[in-house]
Symmetry: C2
Subunit: 254 residues, 2 copies
Amino acid sequence: MRLNGSRGIPAHQQRYALCFGAVLDLIHLRFQHYKAKRVFSAAGQLVCVVNPTHSLKYAPTLCAAAQTSTERGILPPCHHHEAVHDPELVPCMCPLFSCPWEGHLEVVVSHLRQTHHINILQGAEIVFLATDMHLPAPTDWIIMHSCLGHQFLLVLRKQEKYEGHPQFFATMMLIGTPTQADNFTYRLELNRNQRRLKWEATPRSVLECVDSVISDGDCLVLNTSLAQLFSDNGSLAIGIAITTSKVHNSEAEM
Amino acid sequence: MRLNGSRGIPAHQQRYALCFGAVLDLIHLRFQHYKAKRVFSAAGQLVCVVNPTHSLKYAPTLCAAAQTSTERGILPPCHHHEAVHDPELVPCMCPLFSCPWEGHLEVVVSHLRQTHHINILQGAEIVFLATDMHLPAPTDWIIMHSCLGHQFLLVLRKQEKYEGHPQFFATMMLIGTPTQADNFTYRLELNRNQRRLKWEATPRSVLECVDSVISDGDCLVLNTSLAQLFSDNGSLAIGIAITTSKVHNSEAEM
């Protein structure tokens, strides 16, 4: 498909950009009326309000362990157990910041729900509305997202990679092996104040480390001033969509 | 327009993503055969090879003035002359890093062409192929882009905002006033290695400072590892499209 020569961006994409921006504006507006609800619907989109995990069970350890980026470097490395053939039985650490839990891949979802009270939402497209963006780093905002027969984990992290300069990092992890993750593509989209930022990539497996994805910067990265431009009243709405990469391949062959 | 419920991303957008990725791959390939050419065509796209301005006239001053981010802070602030009514007669500084030239808005294009040998390309959509991405910061890659009756300046800058951590910043400036700039939207797109990053915003006016746009981070920002993932053989291809915002507004009212 070629772009529209006279204006550069095809009309359907302009309309889509416009629409999605309006949807995110409406979501911010509806959120003011649904403060008490964790999940609500606006403009046909399922919106999940995600509070920071800052105040959860592991927060004291988390803050103590990550006061400086140098100290973060001494956290134990992630485990890799590629030799196990049944994906359900692959040993897995909790993907959350400094949680010491270890188990099998098949039980990590119940660990995340029961121990960390992380919401799980159904649907290939949802809006992740992270609240209290002003809280100091390190802070995580996390939800699970169930679609296309798998569970995904969206992690938004505020972290000081460079001391005194907090940044926001957003990535999608598949609760599955790296081979399974290669079958999917995820998209994160921000749209507000005449700016639009879109990141598309293959999800990483939870067996790889969230920490290393973020320290490599191989994810959506926002500095504080850009995060503020995309936020409304301290909340950041991120549109999420997941698709199977196999669809791309078969379309390419047509 | 709603997304396709079953897969999250509409089929035409999937095809577009796929196509644009293939186009950028082809551009990298063709570039190997056209090393000597500054402008060539690949897959129907006009490609401009942009060498760094590092070695140009002002490079020695540039390097001396910007060894540390603290020293950059003492550069003179940008001029603002909103009181002049004829846009052509607005006083304007050279938007390039540490060039001392000052003149009127109407002659900044000829200054950029004659003194800095900056290419000017026609067309609403072009591909900017920046070479030698490995060169040390600070380095600029710059072209002018003529379309929709105006000239735009695309600036890609490698800069160490945090010492020892070079980042790439890309922004589009209109060679015109801030009021004129509000009429346009620009899009920058990177697509390679199963990753896609897209930034859309209103261009800034050259009367505003490139330095302040970059220090605010209100532009496309890439860390070094992500820039490497999007590069091929040390060259980074950025798809550029410009459109008029007025089209958006009238479509919204329909």
